[in-house]
Subunit: 330 residues, 2 copies
């Protein structure tokens, strides 16, 4: 039997836990260790026989791990951890601060090239599968326009923003695409859409006892960057209702390109890539793991440096041979 790919996990939050579960679905992988900044003895690892380590111990385990999955946040964790671990391991991460991806790429690339490692950045679904689909659609229909819609799903950033409002005990925010906008795109109107025209925001809020609900509502819907540019609905619920009805992390979205062909642009085409996800972290984790396989295989071929998802041939994501793929998938 082939050696399994030994996978390490940096960070044991929602995403790290989902990566742990996802490894079980991939018969050619095994979990080799989980690394945390917390006291490792406090971690409740699901996988039998696997140990938690302090993140500082990782550097001494380069011979025990084939690919490290970086599950920290893009705000403060990955800008440090990405370049650092690129000097030690093949890595896969889901760095998602779109505007800073070129800068992040360059830092990771430098260290990965020096260390001879393969580091796949900004994997997941957006960036990730949505990036891949934007690129394919653009290449196939050069005369056209691409739109990305997100939701219906929970936005962590916006939920956090709600919770920072005075008088709010807890809250969840759903990003919901505006159906009329999607319809207009499909009809071929190639509309220029504002933030407000593309998505609306629906908030479920648990108020502290005695808090001024009208004030909370005003504070939310006028919040710059997060809500002011959108039509926002605010509903007050009990803590129990929030837990029961809004306790999950569903998400999803749609990349759609409308394009024209023909001697007189008389032929219209739409390409849609749509995700409906019960669990954002589970799905993201599974995408990261498919790219773990790619990083492992590329590394064994002698490749090194940072890569994004569009630099990787789809075949590298599969555990099947090229012959099997030609027979079963083409």
């Amino acid at each position: 039997m082939k050696n399994k790919i030994k996978v390490g996990i940096i960070g044991y939050g929602n995403l790290g836990k989902s990566v742990e579960l996802g490894i079980r679905q991939n018969k050619d992988m095994q979990l080799a260790g989980i690394f945390t900044r917390r006291d490792p003895s406090t971690l409740k690892i699901i996988t039998e026989g696997v140990q938690a380590y302090h993140i500082d111990q990782a550097k001494d385990m380069t011979d025990k791990i084939d690919v490290m999955v970086l599950c920290g946040g893009s705000m403060s964790d990955l800008p440090e951890q990405g370049p650092y671990f690129a000097s030690l391991f093949n890595t896969v991460d889901g760095y998602d601060t779109h505007a800073k991806i070129p800068e992040y790429f360059n830092k990771v690339n430098k260290n990965a090239l020096e260390a001879g490692k393969v580091c796949i950045i900004s994997s997941g679904w957006d960036p990730g599968m949505f990036s891949i689909n934007r690129l394919y659609a653009d290449a196939i229909l050069p005369e056209g326009k691409t739109y990305t819609f997100w939701g219906t799903g929970i936005s962590q950033g916006h939920s956090d923003a709600i919770r920072r409002v005075k008088g709010v005990r807890d809250g969840k925010q759903y990003t919901i695409p505006v159906e009329g906008a999607i319809e207009a795109v499909k009809r071929g109107e190639m509309p220029e859409l504002t933030a407000r025209e593309k998505h609306k925001r629906v908030c479920y809020v648990v108020a502290e006892e005695g808090a001024d609900k009208e004030q909370i509502k005003q504070d939310i819907i006028t919040m710059p960057n997060y809500f002011a540019d959108y039509d926002t609905e605010v509903y007050f619920v009990t803590a129990e209702e929030l837990e029961k009805n809004h306790g999950g992390l569903p998400h999803g979205g749609l990349v759609i390109r409308y394009g024209k062909t023909g001697a007189h642009e008389e032929n219209r085409h739409t390409i849609e890539y749509k995700l409906e996800l019960d669990s954002n972290p589970d799905f993201t984790a599974n995408v990261l793991l498919a790219f773990v396989r790619a990083a492992y295989r590329l590394s064994r071929e002698g490749v090194s440096g940072a890569k994004t998802v569009v630099d990787i041939a789809p075949a590298y994501l599969s555990d099947q041979s090229a012959e099997e793929l030609r027979k079963s998938f083409i």
Copy 2:
């Protein structure tokens, strides 16, 4: 300015004509010649300044063409032309006899390796973009099931079959996916679907004068391989109606994967890739052209051999640099 990619077209039917039009949308390409088995002087080429040649002249023009697009049929043209032109040119084709792809690959690969050419086979949308999406979805959701639906669209093969029926002057056949089956897939029932449960077939038929329409209908709906295993509807129309209402070549389809994740498979996910195409040949041509760019670039990197669409990193399909892609698409 960069040199443009010099593209040749073998075969000037529906697909070849669409490739000619598609080249205009790709600013980094130019049409270098069209090759036909007919008398070249009879071809009405749209592009100014471009010449038609007899197909036998192609072998003397290897220095004038960077990539040859093979637009012949999979039944009898490509099995000969694919391996033949692989010895002379980088090629892209849409070979679509799924069961024979491994055999075709091997023949093309042998000649392409000997000649140092890159030959991308079985491009288009199915095989092609649908193959890519089946593979990605399978790799991301290992626990799940993938379904491919085709239509609503005109099937050339089934339209041809109708026309061979006694008493039929002309006819068109629409393949239509069964909505209920798609819904069942989305609901997560992971159904085992028969041919009849997945698609229905709707035929528009122009009968010859005095023909027995009831007999024509029976002959169609009981025809083995083509119609007997499906619910088939037959409508008789005039030649004018057929031309006016069914003169185009629309098509499309859907690849959908349903999968589960989580500690107890409690989280459900769907990935959908959907195409709605006014013109099947135009869209197919545009996919072939995106892979022309890939073949050209791989060839310049010194790569050789046969490739399928899953062997090509998405970035190779774009005319933008890796830096631009990281900035605009990731």
